[in-house]
Symmetry: C2
Subunit: 323 residues, 2 copies
């Protein structure tokens, strides 16, 4: 099987690439513009003859059409990682989300590829408070351009499936965390505390409450859904099923960094930035019934990923600390 | 009130412009690229000092930003009218639907405009057979790029409402028919029968069954919703509540044209083109509860609009013929 992985040098993409190579017959092409991807996440594969790297941008349609030739299966992870930036660069997600995804399925169409995994997200559901959103929730009124770009990309992928006989697996992920993170709340907190270990600026009032899911859980979910769900367009929520607040994440990060007496400062308001969704609640019945359940809770996911980012080894062995 | 109407020389747009001028204080700017709009639909206003015409394309963002200055309210009717064309020009709806809509709300943002009416459509619901789709139906998996572009545009408008304090009224219309049609089933049938009154090619098998709603009903629906629904983002289905088949439309058109013994030929298959949705069913509870109900049935709407397109006068007086 020949895989084409957009954003394959990024967080979830690079983790998936490692997983794909567990199959000895797999051949993998990573297509990444390295705007947030890291060479260190994929350099272990550079000597592998079954690995190919294309430094390229999804907005470069001719390069994309050429690069994607002769592959069997597409994983589409590339996206703008900076959700808040749309406030000052309003077309960022339109370009990197919607148009990039159109280019990808168009490149697939002209080369007769027909299977794609797409990483959407909870942003499509908008700001609906404590409502547990299932995959059939509506109306879908995103509150950020990031969410809007996910919704637009889902629609384009669905249209191509119906018009050109493709098949898609669309995943609406919670906040994914893990060793190769390139962004995220704990990632930001670590960065800030390394600069100044005495105080921490928390965006919003710290009570924002969301689900965090470990990337290893996410990969397992994708694999199970691919194996068991065979509709033309398959849509699944993927989350841990429980929730923690931003303040709790700050407590985890400071503890794991061995810091004490860190002064928390809050930017204030009920959300981190304009377009942020402060409360996210998932209904996970569909994927639970299929047979997947997260191994890690939101708290465990954040603790593990914080340790991974800090380079603390033997995480599994120290899992009892979490209790 | 100063109105800015995209697609204002097109079918629904030009009808709305006529309606807006019933208010003596109204000032109206039509922004249209005349790709399907017709000068004859708006030329009666050209001498009116309160009317302004900008021949321009929504993809020309600098012109759009300049033209939209100092308006109070935006009606966004511009769209690609040729749904089937996406099979050969796959980025058509991406450009004329999604990117054009982004440009519009971006032009609104930089000029501090904050109210927009958007004409979405049943295409966002995808191909779900006889399921009556309410506004909260999900998942939204469009089967055409036209539907995908409507969904993407809805998402972008919603994001801008949340990020930049705008307010939107989104209408998911059934097939709208009326005097200024520039496309549609009956429109195509009239065109074909004028070329050859002996035979008529019907796309699909003729059993496709959808709701048709007269543009006068649509305008009344928009006005009522604007008056009564004041959320940040307001989404409403607008349809006649009943359904007719494409074969029945062929029968209406041939009868109204005074033709007999027209030989119907069918292109075959259960739908008109790849991406077409053969069965469309609406749940209309939300707008009925608000106080709007279509005056005309699907059949009456098609009969009236056929007569309007054929230039037959005194339609109201001849309404008994429909019984």
């Amino acid at each position: 099987m020949k895989y084409f992985v957009t954003g394959g040098a990024g967080f979830i993409g690079s983790t998936m690439v490692d997983k794909l190579f567990e199959d000895k017959d797999a051949e993998v092409t990573v297509f990444d513009n390295f705007c947030s991807g890291q060479m260190t996440y994929i350099d272990k594969h550079l000597e592998n003859k079954k690995f190919k790297l294309v430094k390229g941008d999804l907005l470069n349609l001719p390069l994309l059409k050429e690069s994607i030739k002769n592959h069997d299966f597409v994983y589409h992870f590339a996206a703008n990682p900076d959700i808040a930036k749309a406030m000052v660069e309003t077309d960022l997600d339109l370009r990197l989300g919607v148009i990039a995804t159109y280019n990808l399925v168009e490149a697939m169409r002209v080369n007769n590829l027909n299977k794609i995994v797409y990483t959407s997200g909870s942003g499509v559901y908008g700001d609906v408070g404590y409502t547990e959103t299932a995959e059939d929730f509506g109306p879908l009124l995103p509150s950020s351009m990031y969410g809007a770009s996910k919704l637009g990309a889902e629609g384009i992928i669905s249209a191509f499936c119906h018009m050109f006989e493709m098949q898609a697996w669309i995943f609406r992920f919670a906040n994914v965390v893990g060793r190769n993170q390139t962004h995220g709340v704990a990632y930001d907190f670590i960065r800030k505390l390394k600069e100044n270990p005495n105080k921490l600026l928390i965006l919003g009032d710290g009570t924002q409450s969301k689900s965090y899911v470990h990337v290893d859980d996410v990969i397992a979910a994708v694999q199970l859904v691919l194996e068991k769900s065979k509709n033309k367009v398959n849509v699944y929520n993927v989350a841990s099923g429980d929730y923690i607040t931003v303040k709790e994440i700050a407590d985890i990060v400071t503890k794991e960094m061995g810091l004490s007496n860190v002064k928390y400062e809050y930017s204030g308001g009920d959300r981190g930035w304009k377009g942020d969704v402060p409360i996210v609640r998932f209904n996970l019945d569909k994927i639970h019934i299929l047979g997947w359940k997260a191994k890690y809770s939101s708290k465990d996911s954040v603790v593990f990923s914080t340790r991974e980012m800090l380079g603390i080894k033997n995480m599994e062995n120290s899992a009892h600390i979490l209790k």
